[in-house]
């Protein structure tokens, strides 16, 4: 930020003079805060591209038959929308941006454990992104397989699948290295006195996520590499005409890609666990239950992948086993939701923009989670598989979950990251528009899906017309909300009033350093003496201070 100069007696990390200047001071920086911001720019760009594609798809569905594009273009667009949103936005999402920026500060550390590896992760991410974009312009055209690369179609399509697979492969390495970095940081870099159960819950969620990144991601790397090998050499692993098994591909793909949903949602849950106590001014209810439920979700979530394959020809025994596990994973998820609402109970609630986002999240995520049980049950899934119901469920969980909380986190930590305050009222208007548009768009999908509208079709029967029109109008309302949100944040970034050290009254360590933080975060590494949300201790200390001041005045 150009107007950042020395404030008082410290230099913020934007103005710290390093050995390099200009853009090189950013793209070769190993500072976790700069890397976090570089991820923010890249991710927001990809989000805007993905959202634009989504709006174009909705425009196509405004009328029956061909509206603005043909079926092949539509196939490519829903594939690109999925690939960009999943591999380039929500999977790196919160850990890459806010994990990088805030995890070391929240742990009382000066940086992550392996800063150079962290920079390598960012470069791998950018390289993967470039490969993904390049694949659109190569011979064969943009791929049309859907983001799941299902065989045997992905083996036979004339579009350029191998390049996109290479992109996903490289992005996987970025994810693995970030996970490795965060696990080591959490084990090795916590401030003195910060035991495991004195860690902020965001750190707990990042820890659980990092384990999934580390253990599950290599499997998708291998699987996608096998598809590329099969395409090039015709080995016969997955292609039934060569004796291969397409269901084996689905197993291998979902062994990663279902845990990937938890890579997306767990960090969001961590952010919620930060925002709620701050704006309820209350110690979080059930700290240990929330922390352990993150690990439980990560663990149980690893064994539910088969629920994506109920109608694929899997064995009956496997079907009910995976259905059972799917129902089990709802338990730790519900533990979190109950603890969050219990924290709000009798809290001193300050309804600022980040909390409004969180309340919208709890509403839509609960619908998304419960609709997951509908498709997790074997009998109902047969009816609803491959309909708009699944699309609605997925968007309620991933967009209403991770997407909403990504922007909640941006609003929560914006003053700390940029040292500026945004207009809270405009932010609230934006959130209301986003939520209203979201519900118009995706709740309608539940109804459409229940009525039998299949997903991934560029056309529909006349009886679905008005629902499609309503959903498309919803997409316009939602996008308008996002435009208002981005403009508000941009104005704040350029001209917003200066933010203090702790504008929200937060208790975790990032609120004890200046906004924006200095280069190495802390002048002295703090010593931790109490839990991260100990508002009782703070209130008692304030009360004692008041009593002390009172008695001192009385003595005078």
């Amino acid at each position: 930020m150009a107007d950042h100069v020395i404030h008082g007696n410290y230099v913020d990390f934007y103005d710290e003079k390093g050995p390099r200047k200009g853009i090189l001071a950013w793209i070769l920086s190993t500072d976790h805060k700069r890397i976090g911001l570089m991820y923010l720019i890249a991710l927001t760009t990809f989000f805007c591209i993905g959202a634009t594609i989504g709006v174009l798809m909705r425009l196509e569905m405004l009328g029956q038959g061909r509206t603005i594009m043909g079926p092949q273009t539509y196939n490519s667009l829903f594939t690109l929308h999925g690939l960009i949103m999943i591999f380039l936005f929500v999977i790196p999402g919160i850990p890459a941006v806010f994990g990088n920026f805030f995890l070391p500060i929240m742990l009382g550390a000066k940086d992550v454990a392996f800063p150079r590896l962290n920079l390598l992760s960012w470069w791998l991410y950018i390289t993967g992104g470039i490969f993904a974009v390049l694949s659109l312009f190569l011979a064969g055209g943009p791929i049309d397989t859907g983001w799941t690369f299902y065989v045997p179609y992905s083996l036979r399509t004339g579009t350029d699948v191998s390049w996109m697979i290479l992109a996903a492969f490289i992005l996987g390495f970025s994810s693995i290295l970030t996970g490795l970095n965060f696990i080591t940081t959490i084990h090795r870099m916590r401030a003195p006195g910060m035991g495991w159960f004195k860690m902020p819950l965001f750190a707990w969620s990042i820890y659980a996520t990092a384990w999934i990144q580390l253990i599950a991601t290599p499997i998708v790397g291998i699987t996608l590499a096998l598809v590329a090998i099969e395409r090039i050499f015709g080995v016969g692993l997955f292609d039934p005409t060569l004796g291969g098994d397409p269901i084996l591909y689905q197993h291998m793909f979902w062994i990663y890609s279902h845990p990937a949903v938890y890579i997306m949602i767990l960090p969001a849950m961590g952010v919620v666990s930060e925002i709620i106590p701050t704006f309820a001014h209350r110690t979080i209810f059930g700290y240990k239950a929330i922390a352990i439920s993150s690990l439980a979700i990560a663990f149980v979530g690893y064994f539910v992948w088969g629920h994506h394959m109920f109608v694929s020809g899997m064995s009956d025994t496997s079907r009910w086993i995976f259905s059972l596990f799917t129902f089990l994973v709802a338990i730790p998820s519900a533990v979190k939701v109950f603890n969050w609402t219990a924290t709000l109970y009798k809290g001193s609630i300050d309804l600022k923009a980040p909390l409004l986002f969180v309340l919208a999240f709890i509403f839509v995520f609960s619908i998304g989670g419960l609709s997951g049980l509908v498709v997790g049950a074997l009998a109902t899934d047969v009816h609803l598989t491959d309909t708009y119901f699944v699309v609605a469920h997925f968007h309620f969980v991933v967009f209403g979950g991770t997407g909403f909380i990504f922007f909640a986190a941006l609003h929560y930590w914006f003053p700390k990251m940029f040292g500026k305050l945004y207009n809270d009222n405009v932010a609230k208007v934006a959130i209301s528009m986003i939520t209203l548009g979201f519900l118009m768009l995706y709740f309608t999908f539940f109804i459409l899906g229940y009525q039998g509208m299949p997903r991934r079709y560029y056309d529909y029967l006349p009886q679905y017309h008005w629902e499609h029109v309503f959903a498309t109008v919803g997409s316009w309302v939602m996008i308008s909300g996002f435009i208002v949100m981005f403009v508000n944040l941009f104005i704040a970034f350029r001209k917003g009033p200066r933010a203090g050290m702790n504008p929200w009254g937060g208790m975790t360590l990032e609120w004890t350093v200046p906004s924006p933080p200095p280069m190495e975060n802390f002048e002295e590494i703090p010593v931790i003496t109490h839990g991260p949300y100990d508002y009782h201790a703070q209130q008692e200390a304030e009360q004692k201070q008041e009593e002390f001041n009172q008695s001192a005045e009385d003595e005078k």
Binding site: A191, F303, I321
Partner: protein
């Protein structure tokens, strides 16, 4: 717990070259055993023998070459979790094939 970002190994250890050479020879011998087993018709046991030999080789590499034997118990737990998870994934995947 280190607070400055550096990890000072609390268990210094030196493995002499003789041990490395011995392990290398053992790995070569086990590789020869794998080849030999593949050439003999043990029926359904062949695959399990190959997996057993491969596991023995992996254990040697992990313990000696990767120094896990000399390190904190937490790293052993991590490796155990990763291996058990992979094992569970195999079991669930192949259970589908068995019951199909």
């Amino acid at each position: 717990m280190a607070t400055d970002g550096t990890h000072n190994d609390s268990h210094p250890h030196i493995v002499n070259y003789g041990t490395y050479v011995l392990i290398w020879l053992a790995l070569l011998a086990l590789t020869a055993a794998t080849v030999a087993v593949a050439g003999i018709n043990f029926g359904g046991v062949t695959l399990w023998l190959a997996i057993l030999i491969a596991s023995a080789k992996a254990t040697l590499v992990l313990n000696v070459f990767m120094h896990i034997k000399f390190d904190d118990v937490v790293f052993k737990v991590f490796i155990a979790i990763a291996i058990m998870t992979l094992l569970a994934v195999f079991i669930f995947t192949f259970a589908d094939y068995i019951f199909r």
